[in-house]
């Protein structure tokens, strides 16, 4: 009978064992004072909204497809990473560098990409997230242009894993900052390019369509209202929202059709969106985005 009890106890122990990781305690030890006012929001709610925000990679791919040349002057210099000493700044700039890395990857600029990987690794370590970057593997992939697809896949997966990890550790506020940093950087690059290429209607439309994303970001920030760290950012985004309020997006539904091609259901979308945006709107949005970005990267 004793053996039976031991067996059950053993099984129960196995079932109840936790996966507590060393970084948890490291994180608790490295909380800066600003985080003491941290507000915990339902991770499922935050995760659901975070999950619907498009990857900044999509904008980098659009820039390349529209014939825009690579320009690393649009990016935050990787050597700036040492300036960011609070977890607030580190998370925002981790998002910024994530977008910059995606931009260098899409344009196959491996040498720049490696510099951004180094900065990302250091910021991630400061936030107890270093385990998500196996710099040796990523560096090896980055060194060979034939591996660019694998590199893009791996870095995208790493950022997705970081977001999942942060949400599971009740650190979704950092996940929100990561996302905001990434979005602000993508917006800033797009607005700079659009201001240089006034004829690129597709870019103008892309900027206008970001109104939908901004609404989701405002929703996320509203959950943290009262958080002394995030409140100034919310105020800046309210200014940016005023610029986006002038943009009109109209959705017209049209029933889609579908055909099977090589085992894939290929959908023909018959819905459309019309986005009304002026050059003045783009300048206004660009200026306000730039103000937010400069505060983040300074």
């Amino acid at each position: 009978m004793k053996i039976l009890l031991y067996s059950i106890s053993f099984l129960l122990c196995l079932a109840c064992s936790t996966n507590r990781k060393p970084e948890e305690s490291a994180f608790l030890n490295t909380l800066d004072s600003a985080q003491q006012t941290k507000i915990i929001v339902d991770p499922e709610l935050v995760g659901g909204i975070l999950g619907q925000i498009p990857s900044p990679l999509e904008i980098s791919a659009l820039l390349k497809a529209s014939g825009t040349k690579y320009n690393n002057k649009f990016l935050n210099a990787p050597e700036n990473h040492g300036k960011y000493s609070t977890s607030y700044k580190q998370a925002l700039n981790l998002g910024i560098y994530g977008t910059d890395l995606g931009y260098t990857n899409i344009y196959e600029q491996n040498l720049d990409g490696i510099k951004y990987l180094g900065a990302i690794k250091l910021l991630a370590e400061n936030l107890s997230l270093g385990q998500f970057f196996d710099i040796e593997t990523i560096g090896r992939l980055a060194a060979n242009s034939n591996n660019l697809d694998s590199l893009l896949l791996l870095t995208t997966q790493n950022f997705n894993s970081i977001n999942n990890h942060l949400q599971s550790q009740n650190r979704a506020n950092l996940s929100v900052l990561l996302l905001i940093g990434g979005w602000v950087e993508a917006m800033d690059i797009t607005c700079q390019v659009a201001n240089l290429d006034l004829s690129n209607k597709q870019l103008h439309e892309t900027i206008g369509s970001q109104k939908i994303i901004l609404e989701q970001i405002m929703l996320l920030l509203s959950f943290y209202k009262g958080d002394t760290t995030l409140d100034p950012l919310l105020a800046d985004f309210q200014e940016l929202k005023l610029a986006f309020d002038k943009i009109n997006i109209t959705y017209t539904y049209g029933a889609s059709t579908m055909e099977i091609v090589d085992g894939v259901a290929v959908i023909k979308d018959n819905s459309t969106t019309t986005i009304l945006i002026t050059q003045a709107d783009i300048e206004d949005i660009g200026n306000k985005t730039s103000v937010i970005r400069n505060k983040i990267i300074s």
């Binding site: 999950g51 791919a61 939908i212 959705y251 259901a265």
Partner: protein, 141 residues
């Protein structure tokens, strides 16, 4: 006598544990498999774990799709069967498409998006399906 009871109990516990491990959904592996089936030319965006516990009617994720971008959603079910029905809804909850066409199921949906907005990707389960899978979203311009 006591020894016999002990033996039977241990066997029962063993069977219970074995059954648990068989029933457990290893969606992580299926997610990786779905990522690997994204065709060349597409960039990986997101992956979704589909772990449909018995009383779960549906699993839903949302994502902002952008006009002018082509998306692909690949699906992998356990044991290579396709029992997970994926349905795409637009921002107004109009049904756009599904991977179930009549009685036939396909393992990928390709969607060249013509209208920017929040879309809903809903997973439901055919009767008798594994309720266990993974899906991956990719894009290309």
């Amino acid at each position: 006598m006591n020894l016999n009871i002990l033996k039977h109990t241990i066997i029962l516990i063993g069977l219970f544990v074995a059954n648990l491990s068989v029933a457990q959904c290893n969606s992580e592996e299926l997610v990786n498999s779905s990522v690997s089936t994204i065709p060349n030319g597409y960039n990986f965006l997101k992956s979704y774990k589909i772990d449909g516990e018995p009383d779960l009617e549906k699993i839903e994720f949302s994502y902002v799709l952008t006009r002018g971008t082509s998306y692909i959603l690949t699906i992998k079910d356990r044991n290579n069967s396709i029992g997970t029905v994926v349905t795409l809804f637009d921002t107004q909850r109009n049904k756009i498409a599904s991977n179930k066409i009549g009685n036939k199921m396909v393992s990928a949906l390709s969607f060249p998006c013509n209208a920017t907005g929040i879309y809903y990707i809903q997973y439901t389960f055919d009767p008798g399906s594994n309720r266990c899978g993974g899906a991956a979203l990719g894009f290309k311009r």
